[in-house]
């Protein structure tokens, strides 16, 4: 495993899914369409990450959700405003401690865990892909600075 790789990714199709009224009922319909439940607090499933009790971030095509959503919620495109990067290698957790305040080194922060935190003043949503990689979502306006910060920090991580 390489020690650390910081890889900006292509812009993705991203939507915020917000449910209102009786989210449980709508969630059942959506689960049927997705083939899995909408993830709970601090979790991701498939292409969906939970952001708050009534909102999720959905990557990729949302046609299946749209088809069953009806009057239970709304999908809002937001992908133009996000940049994604994959942090991989044995030191991705260590990198996230630089300028951060979230315990990315906790073993409980494992695959399919999601956390939104601040790193160097920037709001970053993290999704653990595996023991060796994590996806980071952050505002496009901060992307240049955050990526620069990570590149510089990567060269000085403690042992």
């Amino acid at each position: 495993m390489t020690e650390l790789r910081i890889e900006p990714l292509e812009r993705a199709l991203l939507h915020v899914l917000e449910l209102w009224g009786d989210p449980k009922r709508a969630a059942k319909q959506i689960a049927k369409a997705l083939g899995h439940d909408l993830p709970g607090a601090g979790r991701a499933a498939g292409d969906v990450m939970r952001l708050s009790p009534t909102t999720w971030l959905v990557a990729g095509d949302v046609a299946a959700i749209k088809a069953v959503l009806g009057d239970s919620g709304a999908l809002t495109p937001v992908g133009g405003g996000y940049v994604r990067a994959r942090l991989s290698g044995s030191k991705w957790r260590s990198l996230l401690m630089e300028g951060g305040l979230f315990n990315a080194e906790a073993p409980e922060f494992a695959a399919d865990c999601v956390a939104t935190t601040l790193i160097e003043h920037v709001t970053v949503t993290l999704r653990v892909e595996s023991a060796a990689a994590c996806l980071a979502y952050f505002p496009a306006s901060h992307a240049a600075d955050l990526l620069h910060f990570w590149q510089v920090s990567a060269g000085g991580l403690p042992q």
């Binding site: 812009r11 915020v16 917000e18 209102w20 009224g21 909102t55 009057d71 919620g73 709304a74 809002t76 495109p77 937001v78 992908g79 133009g80 405003g81 996000y82 401690m97 630089e98 300028g99 951060g100 305040l101 979230f102 315990n103 080194e105 906790a106 160097e120 003043h121 920037v122 505002p139 496009a140 306006s141 901060h142 240049a144 600075d145 620069h148 910060f149 510089v152 920090s153 060269g155 000085g156 403690p158």
Partner: protein, 918 residues
């Protein structure tokens, strides 16, 4: 360790052994005079061997790496180290400032307070001299070229201090399955075992210590050396300052220090104790040192600071120093204050019931000590005086955690008592060695308590006589315990003196506050990566690269980097701004307005939500139409404005100001979650999803038609269309007084969209414009911006927008509009003002009837008539709407600019809005 390290001190080439501190190296080179004292410029040497050092402060490093006031005792020598002594001129040996010693009687405690009073203007005279005399080492003037990192860490147990007690605590925690951080301010683990070598659990002390450190590491814990726990806050939040290289040293990979933010479930403080000096005349001369420091230099660094040594002692620890010195070949005499025969069988020359009275000697060191032994004076020839005055436990972090202190009578010291957090203290910090206190002896005017601030026993006595009884007052009056050492060696001595004067016990004398940091922390470490262009978060709009290629004049709008103007040739800011504005008035311009706040509001109850948030009517908007709107706080005052667009039956786009975007997002979230939790509505911030380009000017409808292949939408209409094959949302809205459009692209398409629009704009003679032109245009039209115009203190009526309020009510803030005080006609109201006699109207200027009369308002934004010229401005004026035609002065005394102005309507340009009609 072997080898030789080369360094310089005041330009003199010297050598050190690896692992030596600068202090050890200087002593090893026979150098005792290291600095000059702050106030009297008295010669000073090395007192201690640790971070408590008050005397041996040096400036190290060069250029941007220069660090003043570095303790020579806390600096490990490296190849090429450059150290310079401080507070002296022209040299350390011949310091002109030493003349102050002759007038020391005229510089008592409170000298500044007693001397520098009188007419305020005299302070301008005093200041020059005070500033020149103030401070210790010089601050660096060049930019620090190195990096500082800030890092978070979490652990079950944080152990501060790696002496035997700290190591045992760390080992216990590791074996209990805890994640441990062990931090040590020294360069090695268990430095006390180098000072006092011993066998622990059958192993050489350092082998034992290294094995525990390895056990911590192998368990997943962390061991940090050269790391000081600088402060402890609520919930066991501890900051650690880690030196990755020594001060002034060039870091291999550019990283010089790391500042750790640690959350620990438990904190174990094994911080040890600091030895107390004794108080006698000339106790500050070079060659007067703390006893443990002498032992440290002898045993750890292989440097024997003196050959004929007198140890003045109040406790048994002194005899360990005596043994170390004798082992190293020095002659030793012990003056023990106690009557108990503690030293009876030591084999040393010991004098009991003895106290030092006065050290003899000069800047090159001590030559003797006059002592009082059983009431008789006796002089001892010596080249080193070691002081063993007892121990002060290091309780700083315990106190910062909100802990209490208990008084340990045997040790004559405060020890940690109850701690509210999960913090406990172990080792010598909890159980210091017994010692007695001796009190001051000898001439009190030459007996120093605080070496760094030149505070003598006489100063304390004077302050006490003048009524300063509280420890906090006394500190501020005499400066005792201030500056880089924060009284680590002086505070207890001072408390003892106060207690003796008052006739009370030391615990009754009170304490000063133990504030962070424990030892000085570099400003760079606190700043971390937030330096230079990264000092603040910078937000770049999607079109940043397009703008940067034109080398514009930038404008920081909050964290956003926006374009102020695109100067051509040698144009000034004002010239280019006016040119760009004129292009919009006469032809067309395009402007990046991506930073506007934008919110997607969807759902069956979207309109109900919007009619709560917006104070204008929303429900009557037809699909495809939009309108200007504004928002009130619950107190009825306007705090933001924007536009609302009905995209589909249940789908709206709400825009608001750039500067207020974060506040609006928070506000909408609050309203959605708490005031409208039952509504079926989704509110999502899409500020960055859309990049927006404004196209303004009389030729803009034609440009839009050319770009979309269809007739441009009429004013305040919205259509979904395509530009350059890209889907866009096209809003017909204006902030310039001209027909204008906002084209909203998915931000990832922004650059292609800009290129397509700019081509068409340039084809009609137009040009890009920035914030400067936008300001000129909107002020002339009377459009408001959030911040200066909409400043959260005026009502809609006062801003001239009362007629737009939703007459059906129901919006947030409506109830408070009935408050009687808001009906006061003399509250400030928005007006326009125009210069009568030419000249610029200073922005922010006060509006006054005559010079020196009270301000009745202020200018919120000033500009020019774009085509005709002439200064105009928007302003807030008491009762302004009824004062049109009145002549006032816009007066800025700080800029010494005044303009005569006439009050009028804020709409200077096309007040009927005819230019919006096709």
């Amino acid at each position: 360790m072997s080898g030789v390290i080369n360094f310089t001190f005041d330009g003199r080439a010297l050598t050190a052994k690896p692992g030596q501190t600068l202090a050890a190296a200087l002593l090893g080179n026979g150098i005792k005079l290291v600095g000059r004292s702050f106030k009297y410029h008295r010669p000073r040497g090395i007192l201690s061997a640790g971070v408590e050092e008050p005397n041996a402060l040096v400036t190290v490093g060069e250029g941007g790496r220069m660090e003043p006031n570095t303790r020579a005792t806390d600096l490990f020598v490296y190849e090429g180290l450059v150290a310079i002594s401080q507070n002296r001129w022209p040299s350390l040996r011949f310091d002109a400032g030493a003349v102050l010693q002759l007038v020391a009687r005229a510089l008592p405690a409170g000298f500044y307070y007693k001397t520098f009073f009188g007419p305020p203007r005299l302070w301008l005279f005093y200041e020059k001299f005070i500033r020149r005399a103030a401070g210790l080492g010089p601050a660096p003037t060049e930019v620090d070229p190195d990096r500082y990192a800030t890092r978070a860490a979490f652990c079950d147990v944080l152990v501060v201090g790696s002496g035997p007690a700290g190591l045992i605590a760390a080992r216990d925690a590791v074996r209990a399955g805890k994640k441990v951080m062990l931090v040590e301010q020294d360069a090695v683990i268990a430095p006390s075992l180098l000072c006092d070598p011993q066998t622990i659990e059958g192993k050489p002390g350092h082998t034992w210590a290294d094995e525990i450190a390895a056990e911590v590491r192998s368990s997943g814990g962390r061991v940090l050396t050269r790391t000081s726990a600088s402060g402890l806050w609520d919930d066991n939040f501890i900051c650690l300052s880690e030196k990755l290289v020594e001060p002034g040293q060039v870091p291999e990979h550019g990283l010089t220090q790391r500042y750790w933010h640690v959350r620990a479930a438990e904190v174990v403080l094994a911080t040890g104790a600091i030895e107390r000096p004794l108080t006698f005349a000339n106790n500050d001369l070079p060659g007067v040192m703390l006893s443990q420091a002498v032992r440290t230099y002898t045993n750890r660094f292989g440097v024997v600071p003196g050959k004929r040594v007198v140890i003045a002692a109040t406790n048994d620890d002194a005899y360990r120093t005596a043994a170390a010195l004798r082992q190293a070949g020095a002659e030793v005499v012990v003056l023990d204050s106690r009557t108990a025969p503690a030293g009876q069988d030591s084999g040393f020359e010991v004098h009991n019931r003895a106290a030092p009275l006065m050290a003899n000697g000069g800047k090159q060191g001590v030559t003797g000590l006059i002592a009082l032994i059983d009431g008789a004076e006796r002089t001892f020839a010596c080249d080193l005086i070691a002081m063993a005055g007892g121990f002060t436990p290091v309780v700083h972090l315990h106190m910062q955690a909100g802990g209490k202190l208990d008084w340990d009578a045997a040790a004559q010291a405060f020890v940690p008592g109850a701690a509210p957090h999960n913090v406990r203290t172990v080792g010598l910090a909890a159980q210091p060695q017994p010692a007695e206190t001796l009190g001051a002896s000898g001439n009190p005017k030459a007996a120093f308590v605080d070496f760094q601030n030149d505070v003598t026993v006489a100063d304390l006595d004077l302050a006490w006589r003048e009524g300063y009884r509280s420890a906090e007052h006394l500190k501020r009056y005499t400066t005792l315990g201030m500056a880089t050492d924060q009284g680590k060696t002086s505070n207890m001595t001072a408390l003892d003196r106060i207690a003796r004067r008052e006739g009370i016990a030391v615990p009754e004398a009170g304490l000063t506050t133990f504030r962070p940091p424990y030892t000085p922390v570099s400003m760079g470490a606190l700043a971390g990566a937030s330096m230079g262009e990264h000092a603040l978060p910078m937000r770049r709009p999607a079109l940043h690269a397009v703008h940067a290629a034109r080398d514009p004049i930038w404008f920081d709008a909050g964290y956003w980097k926006r374009v102020r103007t695109y100067p051509q040739g040698s144009e000034t800011l004002a010239q280019s701004g006016l040119r760009e504005a004129r292009a919009v008035r006469t032809s067309a311009g395009l402007c990046d307005v991506s930073t506007l706040a934008k919110f997607a509001v969807q759902g069956p109850d979207a309109v109900q939500f919007l009619e709560r948030v917006c104070a204008t009517t929303v429900g009557k908007l037809a699909v495809g139409r939009g309108r200007y709107t504004f928002m009130l706080r619950e107190d009825g005052l306007v705090f933001d404005d924007g536009t609302v667009w009905r995209l589909e039956a249940n789908r709206y786009l709400l825009t608001s100001s750039t500067g207020g975007a974060s506040r609006m997002a928070t506000w909408l979230s609050y309203v959605r979650s708490h005031l409208c939790a039952d509504l079926k509505v989704s509110v999502v911030c899409v500020q960055e999803h859309y990049a927006a380009i404004a196209v303004a000017g009389p030729k803009s409808p034609g440009i839009m038609a050319a770009l979309t292949g269809a007739e441009a939408p009429r004013h305040m209409s919205v259509v979904h269309t395509e530009i350059a094959g890209l889907p866009v949302l096209l809003l017909a809205a204006s902030f310039s007084g001209e027909r204008a459009f906002e084209v909203h692209f998915d931000a990832s398409h922004a650059e292609a969209g800009w290129q397509a629009i700019e081509t068409e704009v340039q084809a009609v003679g137009g040009a890009p414009y920035g914030i400067e032109a936008m300001e000129l245009l909107r002020i002339e039209k009377g459009h408001l911006v959030v911040g200066p115009d909409i400043d959260g203190r005026l009502t809609a009526q006062e801003l001239g927008m009362g007629k737009m309020l939703n007459t059906a009510g129901g919006y947030i803030g409506e109830a408070c509009l009935q408050r009687p005080d808001l009906a006061d006609p003399m509250r400030k109201q928005l007006v326009g003002v125009e210069a009568i006699d030419g000249g610029a109207i200073p922005e922010g200027a006060m509006l006054v009837r005559e010079m020196a009369t009270p301000a009745e308002g202020h200018v919120t934004g000033s500009g020019l008539r774009v085509i005709e010229g002439g200064s105009i401005a928007l302003a807030h004026l008491r009762g302004g709407q009824g004062r049109h035609g009145e002549v006032l002065y816009a007066h800025s005394p700080t800029r010494k600019v005044t303009a005569k102005v006439r009050v009028r309507s804020p709409h200077f340009y096309d007040p009927a809005g005819e230019r919006y009609r096709d």
